[in-house]
């Protein structure tokens, strides 16, 4: 427990929520909040009030569309050509060694759990890992009901259509959509109708081979297997 008392923190809670404390004062409050749920709740109430102040600010129309520069910033910077060649050679070697039927054995050797907080975050993500432990993209899912799945790939996969298949912790698996890769990139967003919280998402090529997979870690309380409606978009 920090040296700062609850009375002191309660007095400073409005200033803290507004960001009006100095760095040292703020650090003292933060240290206290780590161990005091009651003060956390109070600060949370003040923080909601502070956030609401921004809700009053009127909207305004920018003179230019903001989407194009935002989309431009989201594009990955071009990789050196030598890296493309190196990865292609490595992938070819791995495929030659494992053979088509052994390809899936090499899949999913890494799982970073993709979370920013230990307390049931609303979004969970994981890398889409392909042959040779190569990260080829990312999967993100929401914790709402029904959860949305979003898959993107931007590396290594040959152009073409891939089936998106998801499975839940009960072991049920189902195709949920199709992701098209063009010029090495593709995205798919949609929902898994029949499944609970998805724990694995795979891309399957035209031959039925799993080319990459993402494993999503869920906290113990996220065990609902409720039926979900279905929708999707390429």
């Amino acid at each position: 427990m920090s040296a700062t008392s609850c009375d002191t923190v309660r007095e400073s809670a409005p200033d803290f929520a507004l960001g009006a404390l100095t760095g040292r004062e703020r650090a003292e409050v933060v240290a206290h909040l780590d161990d005091c749920p009651a003060c956390q709740a109070l600060v949370g109430e003040y923080a909601s009030v502070a956030d609401s102040l921004l809700e009053l600010i009127p909207e305004a129309e920018p003179t230019a569309e903001l989407a194009p520069p935002v989309l431009a910033a989201m594009r990955p910077s071009p990789r050196p050509r030598w890296r493309h060649r190196l990865v292609a050679l490595a992938a070819a070697a791995i495929i030659a060694i494992t053979g088509a039927t052994g390809l899936t054995v090499a899949l999913v050797t890494r799982d970073d759990g993709g979370t920013s907080s230990s307390a049931a975050p609303p979004l969970r993500s994981a890398p889409m890992v392909g042959s040779g432990d190569l990260t080829v993209g990312r999967v993100v899912t929401t914790s709402n009901r029904p959860p949305t799945l979003a898959v993107s790939v931007d590396y290594w996969l040959p152009d073409g259509s891939y089936q998106v298949a998801a499975s839940d912790r009960a072991g049920e698996a189902a195709p949920v959509g199709t992701l098209d890769v063009t010029d090495g990139r593709g995205t798919w967003t949609g929902r898994a109708a029949q499944l609970g919280h998805p724990v694995a998402v795979e891309l399957v090529d035209q031959s039925g081979h799993v080319v990459c997979r993402g494993r999503l870690a869920w906290p113990p309380d996220a065990r609902s297997q409720s039926p979900m409606g279905q929708s999707g978009s390429a």
Partner: protein, 187 residues
């Protein structure tokens, strides 16, 4: 795509889905730009900051926590922090005077839905509650909560002792917190 929930759009945006990104930006750009423009009063800078706010939202989508508010609120907080950082190089005297912010004034009459630029009824309780907050307290809260002033800076700006600045902030926030609790209780 327009029917998608904010959270669903954010998920698509997070993985770089171009369609989700375009819809997400279109849905929130007026709101984000409005915050940036209000704080900076510089249209060009505000557009740059609004773009940056969306890029940060894309990069840090996993930090969004719906228990703390909606996607729009999360975005406005990101934008506010960016705008305040951008203004840190400016003298505090360059910041807008809270008395010039007409949106803080109590409405003279019921807002016309066709004209209002405020997004939702979620903040109506706050608008009503601010009517009962004395001007000097409202100024202190806006300087701190919207424009990023510390209590010490509020004191310097208002030419009052820091203890007085803190008192004004705390009295106003306490009233607003009570108003929010009463609103929640009646829902």
């Amino acid at each position: 795509m327009w029917r998608a929930t904010d959270e669903t759009l954010l998920a698509g945006f997070a993985v770089g889905d171009a369609g989700a990104a375009e819809t997400f930006v279109a849905r929130f750009q007026r709101r984000v730009y409005g915050v940036a423009l209000t704080i900076t009063r510089d249209a060009r800078l505000a557009e740059d900051l609004a773009q940056e706010a969306f890029v940060r939202a894309w990069r840090h989508a996993e930090t969004f926590d719906p228990r703390r508010g909606g996607v729009g609120t999360w975005l406005t907080v990101i934008t506010r922090n960016l705008a305040i950082d951008a203004m840190r190089t400016q003298p505090r005297s360059e910041f807008v005077d809270p008395d010039e912010l007409e949106w803080l004034l109590p409405p003279a009459s019921e807002p016309d839905p066709a004209e209002t630029t405020v997004r939702s009824n979620d903040a109506d309780w706050l608008r009503r509650a601010l009517v009962d907050v004395p001007d000097e307290q409202r100024r202190a809260v806006v300087l701190a909560g919207v424009l990023g002033f510390t209590a010490q800076e509020v004191a310097e700006r208002e030419r009052i002792p820091i203890g007085t600045a803190k008192s004004r902030i705390r009295l106003a926030m306490s009233k607003l917190r009570r108003a929010r609790a009463e609103t929640e209780a009646t829902r």
